[in-house]
């Protein structure tokens, strides 16, 4: 049984214009204060049973029941079951014997989990604020602050994983392959609502059902393992297919993202980019595109996902000098997604710092993409976000023991690490990983954002 009470209270006081020597809020000429408080309680029960069959088959079964103060008043408790099995099939007598295979384990799990809404997400409430009445004096007032949602339920995710772990060649080769299928029911989201309802623009809802499927791979290989030279590498990779399966009852297709460039509707990835396509025809062949030479589609269509659906990382390392010197690196590649270059959109809409608007030698496509922004068509700002990044390189050296002892340590090592050392991409913005991070639903867009910073660290580790 688990009971969680999460209460947060905050009181602040602000003083502006302090007299000489004044250090307290009370001494200030202008004083103000604010107070916030929120509380969330969760009551959960959890039971789990583990069965081992002949030390070869392991079965885990469990269930969790959660009820929370943050659920809508009409929403009941929720149950999260789980079931897992792991079978060391290579230990079975019927398994064919291969010299190069050390072990093979088959795995399958099913598990459910949830996400509880925020403390007041389900509550319809009013916000207090001062009113200046005709007398010129301030008096308390209140107006609607949130519509709440009496039907708000926790987000419920159930994931099925199946795969195997294969160890070969005297444990020099380790391969893990996992296929996953995660279905999220009643996904929680702060959705836009029609302002004519209440003047409020958002409401927390259980938006509908979402599915994520894909495959994950980890391959660890020891190429050489000798006293003065050891080489190994790790390859990790994954695929992801994200789809909204259906919208919740009464939920209309949801627009989000900056300039409403993202839409969420069944059959398409969440937060995918949508906009009108266009074609350009330089009718007078003067090399300068004007609006009349651009033909826009009538409606917006799906352009692509905003997050990579393919990822792979390669991490080689080499050890020299009796394993005292280690050099390692990591290279990432992510692809199959679009990135909204919102910085360029801003420049092009203003028309003063965007090449497509001022340079007549720019390609017709670039001019059209830039000019289309004046019609609030941003398709030309959706760029291929694929990239390959030299994520990290690291050199470490284990100092001689006697040197460490001289410093009264048992071990002493030095590590020099560099991060974000280079990137190869066709994306024209600052960096394909420069993302707006203001917590809203803008997704993976760049908007005057800083790229991942290149930095170097030097560290010395002492063990005593």
């Amino acid at each position: 049984m688990q009971y969680i009470r999460n209460a947060v209270g905050q009181t602040t006081g602000t003083g502006i214009a302090l007299p000489p020597g004044g250090v307290t809020v009370s001494a200030a000429a202008t004083r103000s204060s604010s107070q916030t408080a929120s509380e969330k309680r969760t009551l959960g029960y959890y039971a789990e049973e583990l069965l081992t069959v002949d030390e070869k088959l392991f079965i885990t079964a469990g269930v969790r029941r959660d009820a929370a103060s943050a659920f809508g008043r009409n929403a009941g408790a929720v149950y999260y079951p789980k079931l897992g099995a792991s079978w060391m099939v290579s230990d079975q007598s019927f398994f064919p014997r291969f010299d190069f295979v050390n072990s093979l384990r088959l795995r399958a799990t099913y598990g459910a989990s949830g996400q509880i809404p925020g403390a007041t997400d389900a509550v319809r409430y009013y916000s207090a604020g001062p009113t200046t009445l005709s007398s010129g004096s301030d008096t308390p007032g209140a107006s609607i602050g949130s519509l709440g949602n009496v039907l708000l339920k926790p987000e419920y995710s159930a994931e099925t994983e199946m795969g195997f772990d294969l160890t070969m060649f005297s444990a020099k080769t380790n391969l893990e392959v996992t296929s996953y299928n995660k279905k999220t029911k009643d996904a929680l989201i702060r959705r836009l609502i029609a302002p004519s309802l209440s003047g409020l623009s958002t409401q927390f809802v259980n938006i509908g059902n979402i599915q994520n499927t894909g495959v994950e791979l980890t391959w660890n290989q020891k190429v050489l393992d000798q006293r003065n030279l050891a080489i190994d590498f790790t390859v990790t990779g994954s695929t992801n297919k994200n789809r909204m399966l259906k919208l919740g009852d009464g939920v209309s297709p949801i627009a989000s993202g900056n300039r409403n460039t993202q839409r969420n509707l069944p059959g398409y990835p969440l937060f995918g980019l949508w906009d009108k396509s266009f074609t350009v025809n330089d009718a007078n062949a003067d090399g300068i595109v004007v609006l009349s030479e651009i033909t826009f589609a009538d409606t917006a269509t799906y352009r692509g996902a905003t997050f990579p659906t393919r990822e792979v990382a390669f991490s080689p390392s080499i050890e020299l000098l009796n394993h005292k010197l280690r050099i390692s690196s990591q290279i990432d590649r992510k692809w199959n997604f679009l990135k909204f270059n919102n910085t360029l959109r801003h420049q092009c809409m203003n028309g003063v710092s965007c090449r497509g608007r001022y340079d007549k030698t720019a390609s017709l496509e670039m001019q059209a993409a830039a000019l289309a922004t004046s019609q609030s068509v941003f398709t030309g700002m959706f760029e291929d976000g694929a990239f390959m990044r030299w994520r990290e390189a690291s050199v470490s050296y284990e100092m001689p023991t006697k040197w460490a002892n001289a410093l009264r340590a048992s071990r002493w090592s030095m590590v020099l690490t560099g991060r974000n050392l280079g990137v190869s991409t066709k994306y024209s913005g600052v960096d394909p990983e420069a993302a707006q991070s203001n917590g809203d639903t803008r997704g993976n867009e760049e908007y005057f954002s800083t790229p991942p910073l290149r930095y170097f660290t030097f560290r010395m580790n002492f063990s005593f």
């Binding site: 509380e39 789990e48 916000s127 007032g141 209140a142 107006s143 004519s196 309802l197 003047g199 627009a255």
Partner: protein
């Protein structure tokens, strides 16, 4: 082989679990929490609750009308010829340039959302007030009147097709159908009729009467409009008050046009057709002064300084007796005869003599054509009601009711505050994109005046 050779319990015996489930089901209060940060509906009952809701909705209206820096007065003036933007954000400069787009968000969305916040909040407050304070008819009347003004303010600047939706007490949504301009105005007129019926005190009657007159004028029912305002004295004023206490209470027109680096500035002769508001010496109805102020964009300098709202707590007139007289003058000129024009001319000069503490020089000669009369009338309206949110509605009326071409009414040609750009063809605001979450709404019905 030994199947099931090992088995262990991970947590608790089943009996304990069953007991725990029972405990949970019998103790719902363990999950009951307070919400001290916010006010639940249950505390806003009784007389004090009704007053609090009334105050909140009243303030929501003030914010929507003359608060923030993108309220009704500023944003409508921006599309009209009173105000132009010195901003770098598209939602503001495309409004100024008559090239609005539903996707802009920001300033464009704010006024729409805030008006609906006030409209729906007043609907709730009216129900609460009528239940616990039915005898306080003047306040009830005032709430109906303000709601009527809000409904009118959704009609005057926006395209045809604004829905008036609602949320029921149980949280269910009733999506409104897109309303034509006439339907919105009819709704506003109905609210103002209720206000007029309920009002006991003269000022409340006058507030409702001027609002009704304005709505009837928008509907082109000139004689009825004049009749509605006939009993309103010229010295009547209904004022909205601002305070320096919080940003929400401050005068947004001041914040938008007065301070250094502001997003807007008052203008004159904007885009060929704009009126010559900023005369030298200044017309007392359009007080302004030259300054070295720079706009937000950093490129527009020496911007004029309006003097009508010189402080964050400057109050704003929502309706007054001067507007009543101007409505009467407009009704009179509808006759089309020289005698009607002369009568209108006399009414305007009477207003110049009596509308301010110090009389303004009379208009020297009466117009001799109907076109000249209409020009004169609308210029007088523009000057008397400068920066009060009337001008965009009037410019639309010139097209809709007087057959003018939009390109002879609205700013046209190059945009002086943003060189290289030209005015578009909009004559009203577009409904913001988020309204498309209303399944009944598929965009503006039309963009006509």
């Amino acid at each position: 082989m030994s199947y099931f050779s090992t088995a262990r319990r991970a947590v608790r015996p089943a009996g304990t679990l069953a007991a725990a489930f029972v405990l949970a089901s019998c103790s719902p209060d363990i999950l009951d929490v307070g919400t001290p940060d916010v006010l639940s509906e249950s505390v806003l009952t009784g007389s004090l609750g009704a007053t609090t809701l009334r105050n909140g909705s009243y303030q929501d209206f003030v914010v929507a009308f003359s608060g923030t820096q993108d309220g009704f007065v500023v944003s409508t003036g921006n599309m009209a010829d009173e105000i132009k933007t010195t901003d770098t954000f598209a939602d503001r400069y495309f409004t100024n340039e008559r090239r609005q787009n539903e996707n802009f968000g920001g300033a464009t969305n704010g006024i729409y959302n805030n008006m609906h916040l006030a409209r729906t909040g007043l609907a709730t407050a009216i129900v609460g007030w009528a239940k616990v304070k039915p005898a306080s008819k003047d306040t009830l009347s005032e709430m109906y009147a303000i709601r009527g003004y809000v409904e009118n303010f959704l009609a005057e600047p926006y395209c045809s097709g604004v829905p008036f939706s609602a949320v029921a007490a149980d949280g269910s949504f009733t999506y409104g159908q897109p309303l034509t301009l006439a339907q919105m105005l009819a709704t506003a007129g109905s609210s103002l009729d209720s206000a007029g019926t309920l009002a006991v005190g003269a000022s409340y009657k006058n507030l409702a009467a001027v609002g009704k007159g304005r709505v009837l004028l928008n509907l082109g029912q000139f004689a009825q409009a004049a009749a509605a305002v006939s009993s309103v004295p010229t010295n009547f004023k209904y004022t909205l008050f601002h305070s320096v206490a919080t940003g929400r209470q401050q005068n947004g027109i001041y914040n938008a046009t007065f301070v250094a680096g502001s997003r807007y500035t008052v203008g004159t002769k904007e885009g060929v057709n704009g009126l010559d508001f900023l005369a030298t010496p200044a017309d007392p109805r359009v007080p302004w002064a030259p300054s070295t102020r720079t706009g937000f964009d950093g490129t527009n300098r020496n911007l004029p300084l309006e003097q009508k709202y010189p402080a964050q707590n400057s109050s704003v007139v929502l309706a007054d007796g001067i507007e009543a007289r101007l409505i009467e003058a407009e009704a009179r000129v509808q006759g089309g005869a020289q005698s009607d024009r002369d009568a209108m001319f006399a009414l305007l000069n009477t207003l110049r003599a009596t509308g301010l503490a110090t009389a303004i020089a009379p208009i020297p000669s009466a117009p001799t054509t109907q076109n000249d009369a209409v020009d004169l009338l609308f210029k007088e309206r523009a000057f008397w009601m400068w920066l009060t949110g009337h001008r965009l509605g009037d410019m639309r009326r010139l097209i809709r009711q007087y057959g003018r071409n939009s390109e002879t009414v609205f700013p046209i040609g190059p945009v002086d505050v943003r060189p290289g750009n030209s005015f578009g063809t909009d004559v009203n605001f577009v409904v913001p994109f988020p309204e498309r979450n209303n399944p009944n709404f598929q965009g503006c019905i039309d963009r006509k005046a």
